[in-house]
């Protein structure tokens, strides 16, 4: 559903790049390094975002961590409480680095934080895979309208929106360009 207003780019390629660099540094700073950190992207667009943040952390930590051990994915689809209200979607793989996530600081990475239900499902999915020491949340855009007591630790941009508005995140890995569009 669109508002009828023209679509407007709220984050450009450059803005996205800067936001991810900042998030990467905040993660390293807050966790005093990245040795204990595991980034888990939530499909679909959380996965390339986690990969990009991971690459920046590897760079910032100058080789003290490897991307293969730092980044994975977690698909929360099977844990959603609204599974029956949505059209069936294919499941995405869950890939946890071989060291597992027990006692790690897991940072969930997603593109847009909205109702919070995806994150809740991801938290349930995590608990079936292991027991992280702590879980943090990084999102590119926080658009508000939470339905659960969930907040992000790292936010690319706070974007106040109306419910009828639509936030579309486009990433080069999956789409033509890097941009966030509000329509």
């Amino acid at each position: 559903m669109t508002s009828g207003a023209p679509a407007r780019v709220v984050l450009s390629e450059h803005d996205i790049s800067r936001a991810l660099t900042r998030i990467a540094h905040e993660i390293v700073e807050r966790n005093k390094g990245a040795e204990e950190v595991l980034l888990l992207g939530i499909p679909t667009r959380g996965v390339p975002l986690a990969t990009r943040i991971g690459a920046r952390i590897v760079e910032a930590e100058s080789g003290r961590v490897s991307a293969a051990e730092l980044v994975g994915t977690i698909d929360p689809t099977m844990y959603r409480d609204d599974l029956r209200r949505q059209p069936t979607r294919g499941l995405e793989p869950t890939r946890i680095p071989p060291a597992g996530l027990t006692d790690k600081v897991v940072v969930l990475v997603d593109d847009v934080l909205y109702s919070g239900r995806t994150v809740r499902a991801a938290l349930d999915a995590l608990s079936d895979v292991g027991r992280p020491r702590a879980v943090q949340l990084a999102v590119l855009v926080d658009r508000g309208h939470r339905e659960l007591p969930i907040r992000a630790d790292y936010i690319g941009k706070n974007l106040p929106t109306a419910r009828h508005e639509r936030v579309s995140v486009h990433l080069r890995e999956l789409d033509d360009a890097d941009e966030v569009v509000l329509s």
Binding site: M78, Y79, R84, R85, Q86, T88
Partner: protein, 321 residues
């Protein structure tokens, strides 16, 4: 996907979605906690008019791994005529609030009748009907083949160009029928090998090759997978139809003995839907070899049935229930 009634109904895209979903389900089955909450609060009824412990347990395990409640309804021994009995049972299940029905019936077309009669609104999954179809068996066979023959292909892959030989009692086999349909959809080349008496009329119109000679077929096709069908011993006698003269002759011409096993390409998978008659259609050597996927097929069956139940049950709230 509303129902799963026949492997022939599946488009290539749907079939691959099921296989990809099954791969994800299989990955969760190696975890310490195997249970997923996806179908919590839903009731799956296993409606078995015909005995099949393996298939029923497989569906039951699949439903339970997805947190659904399972009711096993063994309708064997019912004396009412089949049409009425199915209708009465369906209406009972509807009243009890079944969210999905898994049905096994000796009459071909019973699942289709249940799905389209309006007696019940729940999705229907065919767990084998008469000599007609057994789509989840075909899916688990395809899943097993894809895993071994195309390990690098990952999600989205079919079985394009793979050669599969299916040997034995095609006439009475819903497994063979379902496999021909599905493997053709996925791009594989199928050859059926059977005595002429065990091929159904019209098999020549199916999307596969037909041969009466197993040795020639193995030599010419160099199959990537060979699937041996179970031989019902009672079909040998004249009372059972007299489809072939003796077990020894069948075994000599169509059994996967040591010599034929050696003649297969080194990577060829040995498959069997079970239960096996060792020494009749398959030698112990072939059945127990490291290329045999017979035991793995059973495990893959649970993942495939999880995928099917998930796909027919998720996203269905918009439909009347």
């Amino acid at each position: 996907m509303r129902h799963l009634l026949s492997a022939a109904d599946l488009s290539r895209e749907e079939a691959i979605t099921i296989l990809d979903t099954a791969a994800t389900m299989a990955a969760t089955q190696s975890r310490a906690i195997k249970k997923l909450p996806a179908l919590r609060g839903l009731t799956v009824v296993n409606l078995f008019f015909e005995d099949s412990t393996r298939t029923r347990i497989s569906f039951e395990a699949a439903a339970k791994r997805l947190s659904a409640d399972v009711i096993n309804f063994a309708a064997k021994g019912s004396s009412v005529s089949k049409g009425e009995s199915l209708k009465d049972t369906a209406q009972t299940l509807q009243a009890m609030g079944a969210d999905a029905v898994v049905i096994r019936h000796s009459a071909s077309g019973a699942p289709h009748r249940l799905a389209t009669s309006g007696w019940i609104d729940a999705p229907v999954v065919n767990a084998g009907d008469g000599m007609h179809q057994h789509p989840t068996q075909a899916l688990l066979d395809a899943f097993t083949m894809r895993r071994h023959l195309m390990p690098e292909a990952g999600t989205g892959a079919g079985l394009d160009g793979k050669r599969v030989v299916i040997v034995g009692d095609v006439l009475h086999s819903r497994v063979a029928r379902s496999n021909v349909d599905l493997l053709h959809t996925l791009g594989a080349e199928v050859t059926l090998v059977a005595p002429p008496t065990l091929l159904p009329i019209g098999a020549s119109t199916w999307p596969c090759r037909i041969s009466y000679d197993l040795d020639t077929t193995i030599a010419e096709q160099a199959p990537d997978a060979i699937m041996m069908l179970r031989v019902q011993r009672e079909r040998m006698s004249s009372a059972g139809g007299g489809f072939f003269p003796s077990a020894a002759e069948y075994s000599r011409r169509y059994g996967l003995d040591a010599a034929r096993f050696e003649a297969l390409p080194g990577h060829a998978l040995i498959m069997h839907p079970g239960p096996m008659n060792r020494g009749l259609e398959i030698s112990a050597r072939a059945a127990d070899s490291d290329r045999s996927t017979i035991v793995e097929q059973v495990g893959n069956g649970v993942a495939v049935r999880m995928a099917v139940l998930y796909l027919v049950l998720a996203g269905n709230e918009g439909t009347p229930s």
